[in-house]
Subunit: 247 residues, 2 copies
């Protein structure tokens, strides 16, 4: 089987912001779907994994865009596994126009966990290391954006607290990965998106939160284009951290 998959997308009218640019959460959803299908086609999907009580957990996602896909445009998400490092796998994405030119790229890191113990599994030995057959080394397919950055929170400002409701749920009753992206971007005034647009978005998922938890948002400006965001549940445990870079 091919190591690289391509999944088409189309930018629907209700999936764009007031600039006509696709919402980043919608793009994130396309990336996660592409990851899910790519795994599934190779026997590494959630369904198969659940039979042996394993599941994928998204740890990091970094998206960098030259331009956002715009309303009514068609594009495709290309995805492949770049490397497997025992407890983690690096999966990359290219987000392309029909003519092959890039809107942008993305990187992600995933762990495989045992659903009983919630502990990570050794990907090199699970299923006799089958996943290694699908690795496309960097030398063969470059993902030309910087790796995941580091967060150094010194004294972030608490700027908002929200409650979580029905629409935030995923199938496990957790707040879903995409909703965090939406809530984080909602911290910024619409004028920022009107005037500057998004250049890069990184998120590190640290812990689960459940519907009914309140989410506390803390921000720290890095410079006039970049802001780090930390999300804590019920004001305490860190749930995720993000880095938002405007143009």
């Amino acid at each position: 089987m091919e190591k690289i998959d391509r999944y088409p997308f189309y930018v629907e009218p209700f999936h764009v912001d007031m600039n006509g640019d696709m919402f980043l959460g919608i793009l994130g959803n396309h990336l996660l779907n592409a990851a899910g299908r790519h795994s599934q086609r190779r026997g590494w999907g959630i369904g198969t994994l659940n039979e042996t009580r394993h599941t994928w957990v998204l740890s990091r996602l970094s998206i960098e865009l030259e331009a956002m896909p715009r309303q009514y445009e068609h594009g495709e998400v290309v995805t492949w596994v770049e490397s497997v490092i025992r407890l983690f796998t690096n999966r990359n994405f290219a987000i392309l126009r029909p003519d092959g030119t890039p809107y942008g790229y993305a990187r992600s890191i995933w762990a495989m966990i045992d659903m009983e113990t919630r502990k990570p599994c050794d990907l090199l030995t699970l299923y006799d290391g089958d996943i290694l057959r699908y690795v496309v080394p960097e030398a063969e397919n470059v993902c030309p954006i910087a790796g995941h950055g580091r967060f150094r929170f010194a004294n972030p400002r608490h700027v908002r607290t929200i409650e979580t409701y029905y629409s935030d749920a995923d199938i496990n009753g957790h707040v879903n990965s995409i909703k965090y992206i939406e809530h984080i971007l909602d911290l910024f005034p619409v004028e920022r998106f009107r005037q500057q647009g998004l250049r890069r978005f990184e998120i590190a998922y640290k812990a689960e939160s459940y519907i009914g938890d309140s989410l506390w948002f803390y921000v720290q400006d890095v410079d006039d284009r970049e802001t780090d965001v930390e999300v804590r549940k019920n004001g305490a445990e860190v749930v995720c951290q993000a880095k938002v870079r405007f143009r």
Copy 2:
């Protein structure tokens, strides 16, 4: 050209609630997309209309479901125009499984407005009444759910106020039609969805709100399964009204 269109959909993992049921907002999005494409294919799409400074405005949407589409299921939205009554057109939908059995049905009412004056146009004379060529009368294709209901607000309780942010926007900077559905359903505890599930949802769009407006939610229980909801912007003008019926 055929009068009835069929558009396939697939229930993605991030589009389902904690029961594995598709979110109603996602289904609503599929319905509005189907309406948009059906109009567009017949020369009545937003793009064409904007050339003559006209646009469609959604006035009512009522969805009733025997069962919600579930994660990983495939289905299709069938849509047709049932009637045209000078200033309004009635558009219906069937939401079907691949074997043709129904998940449910939906009804909608649309007005055509002049973008300069914001006044409704006479659909029977616009483009020489071209739209009448696509009407499928009720006798030919039945939509077997009740028509849009009436709202009788006596003394509704104010239960929540929310701010509107970037992710709520549509391309015009209004709060988008789908987001109202999400915010309204978020008024109910997740246990209602776990135990009862949604049976019917109606919404009447009355006025636009803009990103930055606050939305005030008022509820009035009709009986133990049905609740009416009124949304007012900045505590004053009514933006929309909804009727939520659980099983």
